[in-house]
Amino acid sequence: MNDKVLLAHGSGGRLSHDLIEKYFMPRLDNPILNRLDDSAVLEMKGRIAFTTDSYIIKPVFFPGGDIGRLAVCGTINDLSTSGAVPKYLSLGLIIEEGLPIADLEDIMASVSETAKEAGVFVVTGDTKVVDHGSADGIFINTSGIGIIPEDIDISGANAKDGDKVIISGTIGDHGITVMAQREGLKFTVPVESDCAPLNGLVSDILKVSANIHCLRDPTRGGLATTLIELASQSGVGIQIYEDKIPVRDAVRGMCEILGFDPLYIANEGKMVIIAGPEDADIIIDILRKNRYGGDAAVIGEVTSQQKGRVVLKTGLGSSRIVDMPAGDLLPRIC
């Protein structure tokens, strides 16, 4: 066996079959996939949540995860934000010719482990190999299907005056980790990506509270962008408190050095929860018991003022409006 992925691996011929038989099937093994038909046949009842996302990340491997874990978590978390129980995933790979087979093995191992952890099955997939230079290592697309339990009604439009705003943990870990790797900074940053499947955490809190109104994972654009979207979708104001937002020292330090604001840095394993105030304590309690919610905190509340806007109260007592970021984040000069 060659130690690199070749164009022929995507041709549909013998090498394609080898790839599937050797590296994909043993990892993803499940009765639906094992039929190897051209489409997966699923038995489902009730309301279905359906989502898709493509994953392109440089570097493909980073502290705390890799593109495989990211692709599974991202789609699981998107399903979870509607309160759905994620069930099935598709996995589409676009591989640049020359990717070491060992890397592909590692990525598939992550896909498999993460899917197992989250209790979902990869039921259909596809692999294409493109010329060297036509992609960057590997791109992954995952789509996902989940079932929404009967009495669940969660939407970004459901926030109400008086609700509490909760974040499930520290912000900025993923973005800063990847940035530190990508930019080839000559010092190590003691932080890892928070990349994690949050369906367990969401199911835990839905068990104890019937007053969860909005769930959203603050990925690209960070916490700030997610809160602005929620404020605008629900037609409410959101007030947050600077000193209540959990940020790791390492992330804060890196942001200081590079001139970034943690509010705008991406997360891959955090959930924003907006819920009725009466349930805030129990939700925090349950979140903190989950392995991905140890640093959960109430960071603010929903108001009827400044509709569509997010206002941040600084530690000094002043307030400012939090705006959407525009354009790429670039490091500063001095």
Binding site: L316, R320, I321, P331, I333, C334
Partner: protein
């Protein structure tokens, strides 16, 4: 000691604000020189916390912002040269020149790379001996020494494919130019923090001595700035005009000798063109003749293009402190961080960007 959290302590901050309120009687107008000061003031909402008789203006201390259109055009021209690799700091690539930006040039196939250190640019030169690696050097006395170090190192190594386009600028001469122009009627200046770590405090003493204006060197955390403002207010109330240092954990009176020496060895002081202000004598740095072979201005025949600026953009007046971003009719309409018309919206340290991101309700 973490050197950040301590200077954001909210209780100490609230005490300082109370003290400021009790000391301040007279109306006073201060300018914070650095873009870093402006960002911190906006981000922490410091203007709202000061008494209404204190007015804060933003100054020209943003290296990207003061780079004139013509110099951006030079960098864009060099990026289009076959075999050229342009390396520079992040914000520079988005600043609009007359017709293009380095970012657009990159999109059209030019090799433009963002680096964090001139050492990275040197490394690119070593690894690409057949290419011309041109470092676009912007920045004040904070960045100039590291660029100087790269020039000296390239010279010693005999690297023949490393060049510097020196757009460096000096801070004391521009403060003098602003004060001489008498457009602002200032009572005090918050003097540069990181720049002063290199220059030392001494070069700013003329502000009090010659212009009777109070001056305090400040760091960038909210407590640093509140302390500097309090010291300025006390000077104003007591009728004193002198230079004080509110940033002694970083700034020494004599500055950083090593950094100054290497800067002086590689560069000589020259006139420099500042956006919105014009050519100011002795306010820039160019490579000394000894290092002429590494000077991009000399090594390449840079074609001059007609310099065009958006006539609606008032970055120049904003840099002089004469106008505020909210006075600009492009602000937030045509001009935003995603589509910056002028450099003050591009740079993370620019006034327009700071007001856009962190501006209060009155600017919405």
């Amino acid at each position: 000691m973490k050197y950040v959290e301590e200077y954001r302590d909210t209780e100490l901050g609230r005490n300082l604000i109370k003290r400021i309120a009790s000391v301040s009687k007279r109306p006073a107008r201060f300018m914070e020189f650095c873009g870093g000061h402006t960002v911190s003031i906006m981000k922490h909402g410091i203007r709202q916390l000061l008494p209404s008789n204190i007015e804060m203006l933003s100054g020209p201390g943003c290296p990207v912002c003061v780079t004139p259109v013509g110099d951006i055009d030079k960098a864009v021209f060099l990026a289009g040269k076959p075999g050229a690799i342009i390396s520079t700091f992040g914000d520079m690539i988005r600043v609009p020149g007359s017709v293009s930006t380095l970012q657009k040039a990159k999109g059209e196939g030019a090799d433009v790379r963002i680096v964090y250190s001139t050492q990275d640019a040197l490394e690119i030169a070593r690894q690409n001996p057949a290419k011309s690696v041109i470092f676009v050097g912007v920045g004040f006395e904070t960045t100039a020494p590291t660029v100087a170090a790269s020039v000296r190192q390239a010279f010693k190594e005999g690297l023949t494919n490393y060049y510097v386009l020196s757009l460096h600028k000096l801070t004391p001469p521009i403060i003098r130019a602003l004060l001489t122009a008498q457009e602002l009627d200032l009572d005090g200046i918050i003097c540069p923090g990181h720049v002063s770590a290199v220059t030392g405090a001494r070069p700013y003493e003329f502000i009090g001595n010659e212009y009777n204006i109070s001056a305090v060197i400040s760091g960038f955390e909210p407590l640093d700035i509140l302390l500097a403002v309090e010291m300025l207010i006390r000077q104003v109330e007591e009728g004193r005009h002198m230079l004080e240092n509110a940033y002694p954990r970083v700034v020494r009176y004599e500055g950083n000798r090593q950094a100054l020496d290497i800067m002086n060895e590689v560069f000589e002081v020259s006139p420099s063109n500042w956006r919105g202000i014009g050519v100011v004598d002795q306010s820039g740095l160019r490579l000394r003749d000894k290092y002429g072979a590494l000077d991009a201005e000399k090594a390449f025949d840079i074609e001059r293009v007609d310099v065009r600026e958006n006539p609606g953009c008032i970055c120049g007046e904003i840099l002089r402190g004469v106008k505020s971003p909210s006075d600009c009719r492009l602000f937030k309409n045509v001009c935003n961080p995603g589509n910056p018309v002028g450099p003050c919206m591009v740079s993370a340290e620019g006034s327009c960007s700071a007001h856009y991101l962190y501006g209060g309700e009155n600017e919405r």
